[in-house]
């Protein structure tokens, strides 16, 4: 809700604090030794283990102050004009890339994260952060269709039901995020997820405008609530949000459409200007611990890239196709990459036109 540009005063104040801390430090331990036993963690809602932060506090004496953001754009906008004091943030891969490009993240000291050894090999050299210089993988997953089994014929495993059909007219919700709407539409049309050709984006825009009479709402990451309350029967959503709902309601299912979709990864990053980078490293290392990681994954039901944690989990988690899609599905998924600011504008104008139509 804070729409004002961050004050310059605040930024220079933080820089000043950093300088003061550096000046005060004596001895080989460096500035880090002066850190207060606190950390400001900026995370998504319901996205950490039930007791993780208390466990960390009783283990290290560092108290965690948790603050929540609703989407990557909010996170980016908050940090854009200077870090207001966060130590650890959890951006999604294309935003991690964007923030590295903008110089908003600081390099990680791998020597302080021995639990990096627990991470699955496949996650150690991703496109968005080669060599994991700025980020550690936290969770990964998909975007698919959450649906009410009793109201839908079979498994709605195609984007068609959301984008190009009147079968479930008025019972369908899409995510309100412009990029996601366009990217999934591109997948439905058989195009690449990262396609940035304006003509092809326009094709998706026109398809969504045609489909609009059948769409109930563009949901702000609350598609699962619409589904739970019976306002819609099909909702485009993040897999974990639907899986948490499936836990409470047996009538809910989740499918990744056969045309494929998005494979995303949320990463643990330390923003530039973090007042407690040492504590942030400690918390990252704790989250990547096998047992702590297993407790988190068990609670939030997202796929962990932590191989040691996964080894501790039972088959109801590791064998759940909603969490770990089968290989033939993974094959059709794509990772979103940062495509520059011109692309952001294309997407925003497309969304504005879709909603104005």
């Amino acid at each position: 809700m804070n729409k004002f540009p961050p004050m310059m005063r605040r930024r220079s104040f933080l820089l000043g604090m950093g300088a003061a801390a550096a000046g005060l430090s004596i001895g080989p331990k460096g500035a880090f030794a002066m850190e207060d036993p606190t950390i400001n963690f900026y995370n998504w809602d319901t996205y950490i283990g039930e007791t993780t932060l208390e466990d960390f506090e009783s283990l290290t004496g560092i108290s965690v102050k948790l603050d929540l953001f609703a989407d990557n754009d909010e996170l980016f906008a908050k940090l854009k004009g200077g870090n207001p004091g966060y130590d650890l943030i959890v951006p999604t891969n294309d935003y991690t890339e964007r923030m590295v490009e903008a110089g908003m993240l600081q390099k990680l000291d791998h020597g302080m994260i021995p639990n990096m050894a627990n991470i699955d090999q496949a996650f150690l050299d991703p496109l968005h952060d080669p060599g994991r210089q700025y980020s550690m993988p936290y969770m990964w997953g998909t975007i698919g269709i959450g649906y009410r089994k009793s109201a839908v014929d079979g498994v709605p495993d195609s984007w068609k039901w959301l984008y190009d059909s009147d079968k479930y007219s008025g019972k369908v919700a899409l995510l309100a995020d412009g990029q996601t709407i366009i990217q999934m539409g591109l997948k439905y049309m058989g195009e690449a997820l990262n396609e940035s050709d304006p003509a092809k984006i326009k094709m998706v825009e026109e398809m969504v405008i045609r489909q609009k009479p059948h769409i109930k709402a563009f949901a702000d990451d609350n598609g699962q609530d619409l589904l739970a309350a019976g306002d819609v029967d099909l909702a485009m959503e993040w897999n974990g949000d639907i899986l948490q709902l499936m836990d409470e309601d047996d009538d809910i299912g989740y499918a990744v459409p056969k045309e494929g979709g998005l494979l995303w990864e949320d990463s643990l990053c330390i923003p530039a200007g973090a007042p407690h980078p040492m504590n942030a490293h400690k918390l990252i290392n704790y989250i990547l611990d096998a047992e702590a990681g297993a407790l988190i994954a068990d609670y939030i039901q997202y796929a962990t890239p932590n191989a040691a944690a996964k080894a501790l989990m039972d088959s109801s988690y590791t064998g759940n196709p909603g969490i770990f899609p089968p290989p033939e599905v993974i094959e059709k998924l794509e990772v979103s990459v940062y495509k520059g600011e011109e692309y952001q504008r294309l997407i925003d104008e497309a969304l504005t036109r879709i909603q104005a139509a």
């Binding site: 729409k3 004002f4 540009p5 989407d71 754009d73 909010e74 980016f76 906008a77 854009k80 004009g81 964007r98 490009e101 903008a102 908003m104 008025g170 995020d177 412009g178 990029q179 609009k212 769409i215 109930k216 709402a217 563009f218 702000d220 309350a229 019976g230 306002d231 600011e341 952001q344 504008r345 997407i347 925003d348 104008e349 969304l351 504005t352 036109r353 879709i354 909603q355 104005a356 139509a357």
Partner: protein, 294 residues
């Protein structure tokens, strides 16, 4: 903070942030985070695109309907409060401002629970439907032809109706309070005179009450219309696929589109419109007082 002169307060928290936004609106986006002040008019030119003008018009439409409905609903409420016994008047006024004690976001979520497919309104309607159905059956009539085979919930949420409903709900106190203030000051002997001289209640209302309440009506219309015009939370949460208002577009420029210069230009256009409305009001009231004097 009590020792801070209001001038400093105004400068730090109003003039400086606003000036920054004003400067941004003449800026050029450089890469991801930097804005270069080039005094370009490109952002304003872009805002003149029919796409955005259409959204401005739609926002005016939403705000206008909201203001009109608020006026129609608030007038009887204000009259009722004015003519209620002095003992209970403070309680009634308290009830009017009571919603302000809760955050707007919470109130909006509460409205979702009321309006949604399985919300309280639809539960109520279903209950009535069941009753009607049973009654018709009792009298040996076939209800299916009259009221349908089964209850269909009314689509109350995620459409433009829900947006106007939400805006009216939020802004109603802004209309009631100025109306009450001017009605309370009204000299009631005028009403008595009008009725004594044979005018009907309705005629008295139109010829006496409304003109005397005019300052309150104008204030109420303005302080309802302006915030309604800039709403973004209500269309965001209660609206459907075509309920976008201009503030939603502005919000996106500061978030997903990451185009602060364009967002700033849109904000300032909205602000110029607001200034214009206020200036028109000042002109109007000056004419009004001139007329009274003559």
């Amino acid at each position: 903070m009590l020792g801070v002169p209001p001038g400093i307060w105004l400068t730090v928290f109003f003039i400086i942030p606003l000036s920054l936004i004003w400067l941004f609106s003449f800026g050029d986006k450089q890469g991801l985070v930097d804005i270069e002040l080039t005094w370009t008019m490109a952002n304003y030119a872009r805002a003149m695109d029919p796409l955005y003008l259409q959204i401005f018009l739609k926002s005016f439409w939403f705000a206008g309907i909201t203001t009109l409905v608020c006026l129609l609903v608030a007038f009887p409420i204000a009259i009722a409060i004015t003519f209620s016994p002095a003992r209970i008047r403070p309680i009634l006024l308290l009830l009017v401002i009571l919603p302000f004690w809760t955050n707007l976001l919470i109130r909006t979520y509460a409205l979702i629970a009321v309006l949604r497919t399985k919300g309280y309104v639809n539960f109520g309607l279903e209950y009535l439907w069941d009753g009607l159905n049973a009654t018709l059956m009792f009298f040996g009539m076939d209800p299916s032809g009259l009221i349908g085979e089964r209850f269909t919930p009314a689509p109350l949420l995620y459409n433009n109706f829900a947006v106007v409903f939400g805006l009216v709900y939020v802004h109603l106190p802004f209309m009631v309070l100025p109306l009450y203030a001017s009605l309370d000051r009204m000299d009631r002997s005028y009403l008595e005179a009008s009725l004594d001289l044979g005018a009907t209640q309705f005629r008295t209302f139109l010829s006496i009450t409304v003109p005397l309440a005019m300052p309150g009506i104008i204030s109420g219309v303005i302080i309802t219309f302006i915030p309604a015009l800039g709403s973004f939370l209500t269309p965001d949460l209660l609206g459907g696929t075509d309920s976008q208002m201009i503030a939603n577009v502005i919000e996106r420029q500061f978030k997903s589109a990451n185009d602060w210069p364009f967002g700033s230009a849109l904000s300032f256009i909205l602000m110029y419109i607001t200034f214009f409305v206020l200036a028109a009001r000042a002109l109007f009231s000056r004419q009004g007082s001139a007329m009274e004097a003559s």
